[in-house]
Structures are given as structure tokens and as C-alpha cells.
Amino acid sequence: MKASVIVFPGSNCDRDVQVALTDSMGRPPEMVWHGDSELPAADLIVLPGGFSYGDYLRSGAMAANSPVMREVVDRAQKGVPVLGICNGFQTLTETGLLPGVLMRNANLKFVCKDVTVRVETSQTVFTCGYEAGQTVRIPIAHHDGNYYADDDLLDRLEGEGRVAFRYTDPEGAETEAANPNGSARNIAGVFNESKTVLGLMPHPERLADPALGGSDGKALFDGLVEALG
């Protein structure tokens, strides 16, 4: 498998995801500077976390308008899997590749901590390393992770099995206390229609190494390698 990680000015989890991918893939992904004209051929495109363009105006808005994203959208439409983590998720919603928006956290504060999320489906390239219904511990670190969509859209996403992860308690119950940011229906990650694009707020790359206190995030990268060869 070949992977590309897009680096925007202000990305700051690019190296973290590079390390996690290298660990799972056995070789490093290609790091692509947003200004590079060519997006190399890849089996997976990753938009990393961070504060692209300072997250000024709206998180992800300026990154979504950068030239390289036109190419990313194009590839995504051709079926190339795209993974957006945190700021990458925000950028994907801004481009319209993923539905909904990520608003300011309900308590208006940045939040960095481990959360439990429930894997809603294992039938995708991103989640095939997990069992459906499994709960995993993954860190979050964001100011704007409050997933919002109107009820019709939420119903549709649920109907089409496009909710990837939900915030739950360790037993897998979707409680209000387990929701760290006010997200609608405790949604932590969503797919596009063909389930080839995933955006999620939690950072699987931050717990993909036992030395960091856990490796629940690693199955996501291992699963991708498994699925994409």
C-alpha cells in the first residue's frame, strides 16, 4: 500500500500519523506539501490533525480551499480512500466530501483526553481491523468537534450506516456524560456514501503504540494495510 499525507501550513499531527502509518505499513507514507503541484498516486490519502492556517475563520475552511484539495476531492470521487483526522475531518466537511459541520465544543473549551468510542461497523477499509460494536479508547484534542447536522441528515446517515464511531461510556452506552463536545447523537466520525472517505475527531495515531499507554488506534492503520494491500 502507498499512502500520502497532505501537510498544510499549521498541520501539526502530520509526523504523528506518519509514524503510525510507517509502523503499520512497514514503510513510510509520502509527505505531500500543500503547495506541491503533483499529488502522487496513492492507495490512501490522509489529512492530518492540527491547525491548518491557524484554524482562522472556520476550522479547515482555508485548507479546504487550497489547490491540493481540488485534487484530493477528485481522487476521492474516483474512489481513492481518504482519511481525515480531527482537522482533517473539519477540512473534509468544508469541502463537502463529508456531510455536516464541526462546531465549537458545547462548553467552548479545548479538550484533550482519552475517550471511549464505539465502532459502528467493521465493513469498511477503515474499520475492518475492529469488530462492530467494539469499544476502543482513543484520545481527542480539539476545540471544534461538536458534530452538527439537521435531523433529516442525521437520520439518513444512520439509515445508510454512515456513522463510523460514537462517543460512549466504557460499556458502550451512548450517554450524555460520555459525549465530550456536544456532538449530535454522540457522533465521533462519519463516512461518505461509498464509505471510502472517513472523517473522525479522535486521534488513532496517538494511541497506536503501547509506550504511549495503549494501542487501540493501531487497528485502524493495520486494517487499512490489510484492506488496501
Binding site: L57, R58, N65, V101, M103, A106, N107, N146, Y148, G182
Partner: protein
């Protein structure tokens, strides 16, 4: 020419900031505060001197970048 852009959330869209402000105002003892909505106000200096062209340009800026038209409305005013 100066353009003034107001960007506001569409009705019905969740506004965590507005909600938090309303709550905080209540806590500070301000009575009778109903709904609060927070939006953005952007002022842009333009080299353009033709009002129609300026309006078109700023509208395009809003569509492309300044507003997320899925959840936000915008209005453009031009100064002198």
C-alpha cells in the same frame, strides 16, 4: 472601498457560542435575555472603486471562503 460582511448562522442551526453567552449573561444577573446568536463581522479594504464590481467580488468571496453556506447566511454592505 470598504466592504462590511455579516455572517450569521441560519435559523435552526445550533449555535454553541450564542447559547453559552445567553447562559453566562443569565449567570451575571441580566434578566430577560432570550436567544443570543453569535456571528462574524468582517471588514475588507478593496482597491476596486466600481460598486457593482466590488459587490460581485465580495459576494464571490463569501461564497467561496468567508461563509459556509450550508449553515451560514451572509450580507454584504459597501461603504464609500
Amino acid at each position: 472601498m470598504k466592504a462590511r460582511v455579516h455572517i450569521t448562522l441560519k435559523t435552526g442551526v445550533l449555535d454553541p457560542q450564542g447559547k453559552a453567552i445567553a447562559h453566562a449573561l443569565g449567570n451575571l444577573g441580566f434578566a430577560g435575555v432570550g436567544d443570543v446568536r453569535q456571528g462574524k463581522f468582517i471588514e475588507i479594504d478593496l482597491a476596486e472603486t466600481d460598486r457593482d464590481k466590488a459587490r460581485d467580488a465580495v459576494t464571490a468571496m463569501c461564497e467561496k471562503l468567508l461563509a459556509n453556506t450550508v449553515i451560514e447566511n451572509y450580507t454584504v454592505e459597501l461603504g464609500e
